[in-house]
Subunit: 341 residues, 2 copies
Amino acid sequence: MKPTVHDIASHAGVSLATVDRVLNRRPGVSARTREKVDQAVQTLGFVRDVAAANLAKGRTYPLTFLIPSNDNSFMRGLRLALDEAKERAGVERIAIRLVDVPAFDAAALASALKKAAAEQPAGIAFVAVDAPDVAAAAAEIISAGIPLVTLVSDLSGSARDHYAGIDNAAAGRTAASLLGRFTGGRQGAVAVLAGSMLVRDHRERCEAFAFAVAQDFTGLGLLPVLEGRDDPVVVEKLVSALLSSRDDIVGLYSLGAGNRGLVKALERLPAERRPVVVAHELTETTRGALQSGLIDAVLNQDAGHEVRSAIRVLKAKADGLPVVAAQERIRIDIFLKDNLP
Amino acid sequence: MKPTVHDIASHAGVSLATVDRVLNRRPGVSARTREKVDQAVQTLGFVRDVAAANLAKGRTYPLTFLIPSNDNSFMRGLRLALDEAKERAGVERIAIRLVDVPAFDAAALASALKKAAAEQPAGIAFVAVDAPDVAAAAAEIISAGIPLVTLVSDLSGSARDHYAGIDNAAAGRTAASLLGRFTGGRQGAVAVLAGSMLVRDHRERCEAFAFAVAQDFTGLGLLPVLEGRDDPVVVEKLVSALLSSRDDIVGLYSLGAGNRGLVKALERLPAERRPVVVAHELTETTRGALQSGLIDAVLNQDAGHEVRSAIRVLKAKADGLPVVAAQERIRIDIFLKDNLP
DNA sequence: CTGTTAGCGCCTTCAA
DNA sequence: TTGAAGGCGCTAACAG
C-alpha cells in the first residue's frame, strides 16, 4: 500500500499538521523535526496524492491565455481549442480566462502580461511577440513564481518555463525538402510567401527554408520574399501579380496564413503551369486545396494539442510536478492528400 | 460554485446515500426517487468529481497490457513506453500489468485474453492478431463490461471499445505518394518489403500502397511482395538478392520491421543505383539511414502516444466518461531528415 | 514550534 | 427502499 501522511506522521513521531508543513515547505518547523519528517518521507517512499491535496484545498487552477485578436483560421482554431478546454474545465479543476491582445504589438502584449500577472493566476500562456519589453515582462512573471508558457510563437532568451509550439526552423527545412523533391529535378524559380518578417516563427521558417533550398536544390532559384500580412486579399494580389509576371515558377512555399487568397490565385492558373505548393496549417481552405491537388503538402501544428499541452504543463509547474517531455513536444504534422484526418 | 452531491441531495429532498445510488445506477431506489434525483442533476447541471470519487473509493485502475514477445525495435519501444507509464502509475492511480504473448499466435492470444479478463482488471489493451478466436475472446470481454482497447494492430468487426493505432491504409497511400513523387517521374520497378501478409496492418498498408501506385504513378511497376518476417537477416538476403537480380529498381517500400537488414543491403549499393526508400517506424536504424540519405522518408507511429492514449481511454471507459476523440487519434508521423525529433 | 479538529466531494458500511 | 455516519489522503484554521 502506498504510504500516506499518516504513515509518515507516525513514523516520524509527529502530527499530521507538522508533516503537512514540511511537505509544503511552510515555515514554523524546527530543523530537527523537519529532518525527521524528510527522513520518513525518504525511507517510506512517500509521494503525495495531488488529487487528494487539491480536493482538500478546493483548489482550482486559474489559467490566463493571452491570444492575439487576429482573425485567421489558425487563431480561430486556437480559440476553438480553448473553448473545448473550457468545457472540461470543471473536471480538470481549471478556470481558463482568455484575454485578447492586439496582434504583433509588443508593447500591448507586455502590458497585458503584467496585468494578467497582477491577478496571480496559477499560470499564464501567451503567443509571444519576440521583443525586449515582452521578455522583460515575462522575466518578471517567472521571478514572481507564476508558471509561464509560450504558445505557438516563442520568446528568445528562455524567459519562460516552456514553449508549446513547433520547431519552426525544422518546419522550414522540411518544406524545402518536400518542395525540392516534389519538383523532381526541374529547374526554375521558387517563391516564398510569408505573413510578416517581423514575426519570429515566420522569420525562422523562411531562413531555414532558404538555407536548405540553396544547399540541396541548386536547380531552384529563390525569389524575394512576399509579405502577404496573413491577409487573403493581399496574398491573392501578390501571388497573381507574381504568376503573371513570370512563367518559370516551379515552387511556392506559403509559410504564413491567408491561404484563401493563394488558392484563388492558383485556381486561375492553367494546370500545366501550376507550381509545387507547400503551405502551413491545415484549414478548410488548405484541406480542400490538398484534395484538389492545388497544394501538394501542408505542414501543420495542432492547436488543440498546443492548448492541452500548455494546460498540462502549467498545472504540472503549478504543482511542482515534473513534465513528461516527450508527451509535450509539439510535432510538425505533414499532410498529403493521403493522410488527411 | 459547482454543485455537489449535497446540493442535489437537498434539492431532491433525499439523502446523500440515495443520490449516490442513483448516480452510480445501483439498485434499491424507487422509480420516483430516482426520477427526482435525475431531475435535480439535470437542473443543477451536476457533474461528479471523478478525483474525489476515486479518492473515496480508494480506487486504482488495474490495467493489463498484452504485448507480443517480439524482439524488434518497435516492440521494445512499446515496452519502454509501458515502463514509463508504470513510473507515473502512483499518481495516475493505475497499476499496469504487462503480459507477454507469443507473436502472431491467435490461439495463444485468445487464451491470454481470457486469462487476463478472469482477473477482472479495470481495462485490457492488446496488440490484436486478426483472427476469429481472438475476436470471440474480445467480444466476451466486452460483454463482461471490461473496457478493451486494441493497440497498434486492430481487430476486424469492432469487438473492442477503441483502437489505439494508426490508419494503415492511409499509411500505405502516403508511402505511395511520397515514393512516387520522390522518384520524380523516373520509370522503373518498385519493391515492397513486408513482414508477413498474415498480419493485418501489413496487409492493409500493402494493399493501399499497391492501389495508389497503380493509380497515380503509371511509370512505376510493382514487384511481388517480399516477406522478410520482420527479421533483419532474412530481409538483408531478400533485398540483396533482389537488387543484384535487376537494376531497374527505383523505389522500395519497407512496411514492416527488420530494417537493419534493409540498410545493410542498401549500403552495398553504389550511390547512383540507390532507390527511393520509404520505411516504417523511427528507430536507431531508420534514423541513421534517414540522416545518411539511405532512406528518404519514415512513417512512424509513436508508441508512447499509443500507450498513453490506451491508458486514458481505458480509464475514461472505466469511469463511463467520454473520450476526446481528437486527442486520441494516433497520427501517422512523417519524418524526413529535416524534422527528426 | 506543534497538535487537534474539521472538512474537500464522494462512496460505503450498517441500521432503520 | 432509504438514511446516518465514517472515512479516503490531504489541508487549514485554531488552539496550545
